[in-house]
């Protein structure tokens, strides 16, 4: 009997959410019925999410993609000879030639979607652990220098230079240090952390281990949100396998260095994505924000020096150590070096993950990659950077993906999530939601955030009801200033950004029609 045909069906949570498990089961059953020898590999997602479940057949001509595939399509796919790349109405041609994928610059996500994410041999075959091997030959200070030279900035949203953070932790003398991965990806419109953890968990493990070697930390924690059960399973299994093979634990790769890792699960608190709240939560406390200083790199988890970085930041480190700082730094522009995995979400036709060097414009992403809105109506606004990011109108769509360019228009790139809204959106309702969300998720430590958000909802309600609108707007703007200037962390300090941008760019939505106003 000839070797089994290989078929890839993603096990990514988004693919599963639209039926990938059922498709895999249908392929299995149909193959059995026909006596065909098929091996199904559950890979990560390629990130072409509108095409999920995206099935790939491994053929002599390379991998051929079919999607979206429903369980009912499976007999037809077999009839069409899809195992050999046969023609079918859902056939998308060679996966690597699909424009959406071909036009990306995948560094951090280079492996995601290629293999079974838990297959350690496949990870090694695709360049895995080369960064760690390089790091094991370097002194801690040399690793830090390379990360600094790469220009890598924190991908969680704050964009702080990773190398500087690591240097601070390295220079802090202590009997124990920690590496903490912030995997509390709570921003709406973002899923790159989730996709990476599910699709290439060893990359995160490798990045964290390198961070440990660079700073002298011996214990790592991944603080993962409970909303990501697939990522939890992938990480826990990957950690176990890595440990069995000497990539974690005592005597890393046979050296006298050690580093170990544990996954901790959050409990539905958006604020725990803020680094000091996250540390409090890891310590078993309420997730309340800490005053800074001291910086976590000096006094972090359990009072010890702690490197705390986002998933994408840490997972980008292996390629920097493997290919060199210059290689990474040569992507991007200005002070935004390397690539950013951008997430096209919400009301968008071709939603998914697009990893590109910094510098593309919002318009290219929304239309060339995204294909416009899902509804087919005009795009009216996009929110970039999560619930604390500004709403941008069409006139700002030529802004390049660059931290400084976004700051210059009163926005922020954040974690790279773009949420698209068509022209049916009520921007006053979105502004209200921003305040409401802040009220729900405020940790309660500082007054501008705890009380200001509730007052903000009330003021917006009065404004929308047409009660002395000029007065309410002045009050709302004043409240926004107070929250920006007086809040302890980014939750209270940035919630005004979506509110003010909605008010500035879409003032008409805050004025009720005259007829309704006269009744009110």
């Amino acid at each position: 009997m000839s070797a089994a045909s290989i078929v890839y069906v993603p096990a990514d949570a988004s693919a599963v959410a639209v039926g990938a498990d059922a498709v895999a089961a249908a392929i299995h059953a149909e193959a059995a019925r026909r006596g065909a020898s098929v091996r199904i590999v559950r890979n990560g997602s390629r990130g072409l999410l509108w095409l999920e479940p995206l099935v790939e057949a491994d053929t002599p001509a390379g991998r051929i993609a079919y999607g979206p595939v429903a369980p009912g399509d499976v007999p037809g796919l077999f009839d069409a000879g899809f195992l050999g790349g046969g023609t079918h109405r859902s056939c998308l041609g060679p996966t690597a030639q699909i424009a959406y994928l071909k036009n990306q610059e995948r560094l951090t996500f280079a492996r995601v979607g290629l293999t079974d994410p838990l297959d350690l041999e496949a990870y090694r075959a695709h360049g895995g652990f080369r960064g760690l091997d390089a790091a094991l030959d370097l002194k801690p200070g040399e690793i830090v220098e390379r990360v600094t030279a790469s220009g890598l900035r924190g991908r969680g949203g704050a964009a702080f230079p990773a190398g500087i953070k690591w240097k601070t932790a390295l220079d802090a003398a202590a009997d124990r240090k920690y590496v903490v991965c912030n995997a509390d990806e709570g921003d709406s419109g973002t899923f790159s952390d989730r996709m990476l953890m599910e699709g290439d968990p060893y990359a995160l493990i490798e990045g964290m281990t390198i961070a440990g070697l660079a700073t002298g930390a011996t214990q790592g924690y991944i603080y993962l949100r409970f909303e990501y059960p697939h990522a939890r399973r992938a990480l826990e299994r990957a950690i176990e396998t890595a440990r069995e093979h000497g990539y974690l634990g005592e005597r890393l790769r046979g050296t006298d260095r050690r580093f170990d890792l544990e996954v901790r699960i959050g409990a539905g608190a958006y604020i725990c994505g803020e680094e000091t709240s996250l540390l409090e939560s890891l310590e078993g406390k309420r997730g309340q924000v800490r005053f800074k200083p001291p910086l976590p790199a000096i006094r972090g988890l359990f009072g010890k020096p702690t490197v705390i970085n986002n998933v994408i930041t840490l997972a980008s480190v292996p390629i920097i150590l493997d290919r060199g700082a210059e290689y990474y730094r040569d992507f991007g522009l200005g002070r935004s070096r390397g690539t950013l995995p951008i997430q096209l979400t919400g009301n968008i036709r071709h939603g998914g993950l697009v990893e590109k060097a910094f510098g593309s414009t919002l318009r290219e992403l929304l239309y060339d990659f995204g294909g416009g809105s899902r509804s087919g109506r005009p795009i009216r606004a996009v929110q970039v950077g999560g619930p604390l990011g500004a709403y941008l109108p069409e006139s700002q769509f030529d802004t390049p993906i660059d931290y400084e360019a976004f700051a210059a228009i009163g926005g922020m790139l954040g974690h790279g999530g773009i949420v698209v809204f068509d022209d049916t959106v009520d921007m006053a309702a979105q502004a209200r939601y921003a305040m409401e969300f802040c009220a729900i998720e405020s940790c309660g430590k500082c007054t501008p955030c705890r009380i200001g958000s509730t007052r903000g909802v009330e003021v917006i309600d009065r404004l929308r009801a047409g009660e002395e609108p000029a007065k309410q707007e002045a009050l709302l703007r004043d409240l926004c200033d107070t929250m920006i200037d007086g809040s302890l962390c980014a939750l209270g300090g940035l919630t005004p950004y979506p509110v003010r941008s909605a008010l500035n760019h879409f003032p008409e939505d805050f004025r009720k029609p005259a007829a309704a106003r006269s009744r009110g």
């Binding site: 959410a17 509108w50 990806e185 078993g284 979400t345 919400g346």
Partner: protein, 174 residues
């Protein structure tokens, strides 16, 4: 089943008299297994909720005693996090994503449909005890919303019809 908190004559005694045997055993087992881990409280609360589907309010004094914390500290943590619940939910917990990406594709309409269809508001449990409805703020499925999570299964592109199918499946799955 919820019981009103009894007034205690001896508020400092760590006895948890209104924990039933299973609740008490689960709580003690979770504490014994995890209390030496650094920052053990969240893992312990998770372990209890994983086993019982809730963390009994009456377990607070027992956990406090086991971890050498004050009851206020344990209560503070238990009540801070949206995920932890102190009352038994329905057989399945259904969470609807309320966040922006899902809003942009009709989450608000889905929310209204869900509340009407189930006859409950958020945090409520259907009359037959099958489903507890909760809100969630992002499931990381933002390109394929609206999204819901039923126990730990995530469903994408959920419209009213698909929502009804998910509910029917959840009800029939005992």
């Amino acid at each position: 089943m919820t019981t009103p908190a009894p007034t205690r004559a001896t508020p400092n005694r760590p006895e948890s008299t209104d924990l039933d045997a299973a609740e008490r055993a689960t709580t003690l087992a979770a504490c014994a297994r995890l209390k030496d881990a650094p920052g053990a409280l969240l893992p312990i609360l998770h372990a209890i909720q994983d086993a019982l589907s809730y963390v009994p309010g009456a377990a607070v004094p027992l956990i406090a005693q086991e971890l050498n914390l004050s009851r206020a500290e344990v209560h503070g943590v238990l009540s801070f996090y949206h995920y932890f619940r102190t009352e038994k939910p329905g057989r399945r917990v259904l969470r609807i994503c309320r966040a922006e990406a899902c809003q942009s594709v009709g989450a608000a309409a889905l929310e209204q449909h869900a509340k009407r269809r189930l006859g409950v508001d958020y945090h409520g449990t259907t009359a037959d005890g099958a489903i507890t409805l909760e809100a969630v703020y992002c499931l990381g499925n933002c390109a394929l919303g609206p999204s819901v999570m039923i126990d730990d299964t995530i469903e994408g592109r959920v419209d009213a019809q698909r929502f009804d199918e998910i509910v029917a499946r959840a009800r029939s799955a005992r």
